[in-house]
């Protein structure tokens, strides 16, 4: 890392060392890894508080910053959901709750959770922290751009939060922001609220593009020696593919945001047909609201997988580590991630079966959507087949993974209902949809996030989280969340439409009263249970058990940093050299039940390892 770094010399030194480091009587060629193609990265080390912790260029710090900001918005989203459930379960109990407020909370809850919480957390948080560590890089390839990316996100969150305080309040047009209602009177926050939302989204996209370029180029061009794509942990695969999706899907969101802003501010008619409001014909004319829906869902469907794919990847790693067994069918898993990602650009209009689009699209989109079910199902099989004949540690991390499998399979199956065009017709726009997407892209990824927090906290903080509290946290969250969303499907069967502020004056909906009260109570408990985690983190930071190096006995590179927690530059003087995939657990003939990626073949001649 010194200024006049003589690259060739170091490479030779490194490679000769690895060659001679082999066991006795082994041919030196066995451990050979190609010399480095790229000289070691120069890093800017912060020396003041501001450059170290605020405007920091270390991907790990940026990752934590992303994480904390996302969690902050997530808590706001959680509080909003409480307020909504209060209204639905016990209407009139909260005196201030008007329909306007209710719809504003619905909208902000949705947008915050999908974009500012889950996307930012998985890609910005876990992506930044884990990608360089897992591929064996010193940092992201463009640390400065990475820093700007976070601060863009920070500003985007600020603008979003500001919309709570402008006249008219935040937008209440539903998280899909469908025009024409999004920018017309009659929808709450159709003035400043929607404008700030659109500006915030545009900033988010710009900021995210900066971060996304970093993640992609780091994975593609800055892996360490011996780290092939097929030796990357699935976590990296998931985040990488999700980032690809984001880079290609966010443009559609940006474009639709820009066009709607112009419709609002300049009075153009991209999405606005001739409209009669309060007896007067507005100045608009000739636009197409369905065009917005197409653009939105061209972004929106990949967005679902932007949230889901990192979760898939991370959970694969967690399951493998904690059942002490290699992930079953690694290649299949990788191809499934890539395939799901690619297909996700061809299925967007399954959100629009009853939107009044060209009805013949139904055939196309139902087919492509159900095709996507195949690779997804394969992933599920491979997770449970990884458990099969494993040596499962039933610790908190594993519990979250099991919880993920149950909720994800449940939500995935209901996805087949909604993806199959005819089945969707009676169920769309009802509570069935709400139950489905909360189960599959709310609760399931949340389970993974929690599992990941318990798994990697020892790395980030150097101390273990409390297991007892963790189990309480898990069971309250899992059982609570399941009892919120599982019965909710049946409200959808009855035909209760979503986004209803009140619903009790219809004869067949009165039966929903009891269930709504129950769901609301469960929601309060689940929400409150999340504060156990916060308490756990604070407590463990102070007095948690010291983690030491590699407490889980995992194989992947992030546990083999020079210090725990890793310092800037991650790996000390020399980058690790990778010889195997990260899933060599319980290899027959080996002494330990794990075998780090850096183990050279000469050290394990007698074992039957996978030749990757």
């Amino acid at each position: 890392m010194s200024e006049d770094f003589n690259n060739n010399k170091t490479i030779q030194a490194q490679s000769s060392e690895t060659i001679s480091g082999g066991g006795a009587g082994v041919t030196p060629d066995m451990d050979y890894v190609r010399p480095a193609e790229i000289p070691d990265q120069d890093l800017y080390h912060g020396h003041s508080f501001i450059t170290k912790w605020v405007f920091c260029q270390d991907a790990k710090v940026i990752g934590v910053q992303y994480f904390l900001t996302a969690v902050f918005t997530g808590i706001i989203g959680l509080i909003l959901s409480w307020l909504m459930r209060l209204q639905l379960g016990f209407p009139g109990l909260a005196g201030f709750m008007t329909a306007e407020h209710y719809y504003q909370f619905v909208t902000m809850h949705g947008m915050i959770m999908v974009v500012y919480f889950l996307t930012a957390l998985f890609l910005g948080g876990f992506g930044n922290y884990l990608i360089p560590l897992m591929v064996g890089a010193r940092d992201m390839v463009f640390p400065y751009v990475n820093m700007v990316s976070y601060w863009m996100f920070f500003v985007a969150v600020g603008v979003l939060m500001a919309s709570f305080f402008v006249p008219g309040g935040p937008t209440g047009s539903g998280w899909t922001l469908y025009p024409p209602q999004a920018i017309l009177e009659g929808t709450p926050g159709s003035g400043m609220g929607i404008l700030l939302m659109l500006i915030s989204l545009s900033l988010f996209v710009i900021g995210f593009t900066m971060g996304g370029l970093n993640y992609l180029i780091t994975v593609l061009q800055a892996r360490t020696r011996g780290m092939t794509l097929m030796r990357m942990p699935l976590t990296v695969w998931g985040i990488f593919t999700a980032t690809v999706l984001a880079m290609l899907a966010f443009p559609a969101l940006l474009v639709s945001s820009i066009m709607m802003t112009l419709d609002k501010v300049l009075g153009t008619s991209f999405f606005m047909p001739t409209i009669l409001k309060a007896g007067e014909v507005l100045e608009y004319g000739g636009g197409s609201p369905i065009l917005f829906q197409h653009l939105f869902w061209f972004f929106g469907h990949p967005e679902v997988y932007i949230v889901a794919l990192p979760a898939f990847g991370i959970v694969s790693d967690l399951i493998s580590v904690h059942s002490r067994k290699n992930i079953f069918g690694y290649r299949m898993m990788v191809w499934a991630i890539v395939g799901i990602g690619a297909l996700s650009f061809f299925v967007w209009a399954h959100h629009m079966y009853v939107s009044g689009m060209n009805p013949w699209f139904g055939f196309f989109f139902a087919t492509t959507t159900l095709i996507i079910a195949v690779p997804t199902a394969m992933k599920v099989y491979n997770w449970i087949l990884t458990l099969w004949r494993g040596n499962i540690r039933l610790n908190t991390v594993m519990l979250w993974c099991l919880g993920f499998i149950v909720t994800f399979v449940n939500g995935g199956i209901t996805g087949i209902f909604l993806g199959n065009v005819t089945v969707d017709v009676p169920l769309s726009d009802t509570y069935f949809v709400i139950a489905h997407f909360h189960m599959v892209m709310g609760i399931a990824p949340l389970m993974v996030i929690m599992g990941a927090v318990y798994h990697w906290f020892p790395l980030v903080a150097g101390r273990m989280l409390d297991e007892g509290l963790g189990k309480w946290h898990f069971w309250l969250t899992f059982l609570g969340a399941y009892s919120i969303y599982f019965p909710m499907h049946y409200l959808g069967f009855i035909g209760v439409p979503r986004r209803y502020f009140e619903m009790y004056d219809s004869p067949y909906m009165t039966s929903a009263v009891g269930m709504n009260e129950f769901i609301s109570l469960a929601a309060f408990i689940v929400g409150a249970a999340q504060f156990i985690l916060i308490y756990n983190i604070i407590k463990s930071l102070k007095e948690g058990e010291r983690a030491g190096k590699n407490p889980w006995k995992a194989n992947s590179l992030e546990w083999f940093t020079s210090t725990v927690p890793p310092e800037h530059g991650n790996f000390g003087d020399r980058l690790p050299v990778v010889h195997r995939w990260p899933y060599d657990y319980s290899v027959p003939g080996s002494k330990e039940d794990f075998m780090p990626q850096t183990t050279p073949p000469s050290a394990v001649v007698d074992t039957e390892v996978e030749k990757t």
């Binding site: 061009q221 290609l248 820009i258 066009m259 112009l262 991209f270 000739g286 197409s288």
Partner: protein, 236 residues
């Protein structure tokens, strides 16, 4: 970084090479500078932005029952008293392609480490870009003068003005950003930052003529987008 030799790696051509590159360690794009790879991926993303704009334009134009103005007439310019269709647009296209050519040559001379030639050509590109932006400003003011607004126009469908100002505006913004960077890079070339491997102002990355190629990619992309706008908006 671009100077780096890739040791002990056999380059294979075609799809076999692609499979081998993809399956190899360290990098997937062999010998491609980080910045260049980033610019390519960014341009891919930007392609989606412009595609979405143009697709919206197509959908909007296809579904309006109101007559779409004839661009050939709207964008005609009087030359010596005779209206010539798309005259200004033709000149703008000419200017942009000229600047694209000078940029391509700048990249070439950059790699030959020919500081003077590279610098002058980058500067020429910048001036070409500036001319383009100037002519676009002229075109906008002419149309606004004729009563074309983003929300209405005297020739037909109101979406005509909306899409025109939005798409050319977005493209013009790209050109303007490009021009600013071209001037900065021209300065950096003349000042010898790339010969001395001087580090960037904000980053720790060492200066290299590959940055001229990266900028060139962006500039050619702007030209590329114009090719599509020219075809779809002015000729269609």
């Amino acid at each position: 970084m671009s100077e780096q030799k890739i040791v002990d790696y056999e380059f294979k051509p075609g799809f076999k090479g692609m499979a081998k590159d993809t399956g190899s360690d360290q990098t997937m794009f062999k010998g491609v500078h980080w910045g260049k790879a980033m610019m390519w991926i960014f341009l891919l993303s930007d392609t989606f932005v412009f595609s979405c704009f143009l697709i919206s334009y197509m959908k909007g134009r296809a579904s309006t029952p109101v007559e779409w103005p004839n661009p050939s007439e709207v964008f005609a310019l009087d030359a010596f008293g005779v209206p010539v269709p798309l005259l200004l647009i033709a000149i703008m296209t000419f200017v942009l392609i000229t600047s694209s050519g000078t940029m391509a040559l700048a990249v070439k001379y950059g790699y030959e480490r020919n500081r003077k030639m590279c610098g002058w050509l980058v500067l020429a590109t910048a001036i070409g870009g500036l001319t383009f932006v100037g002519m676009q400003a002229f075109e906008w003011s002419k149309l606004i003068h004729e009563g074309v607004r983003p929300w209405e126009n005297p020739f037909g469908a109101p979406q005509f003005g909306s899409f025109f100002f939005m798409i050319t505006g977005f493209h013009g913004t790209h050109v303007s950003i490009g021009v600013i960077f071209l001037f900065i890079y021209a300065y950096k070339v003349f000042a010898g930052h790339y010969d001395e491997q001087k580090r960037g102002w904000f980053t720790t990355m060492k200066g290299d003529y590959v940055e001229i190629e990266i900028l060139g990619l962006y500039w050619h992309f702007v030209d590329l987008v114009w090719v599509f706008i020219f075809a779809f908006f002015y000729l269609w």
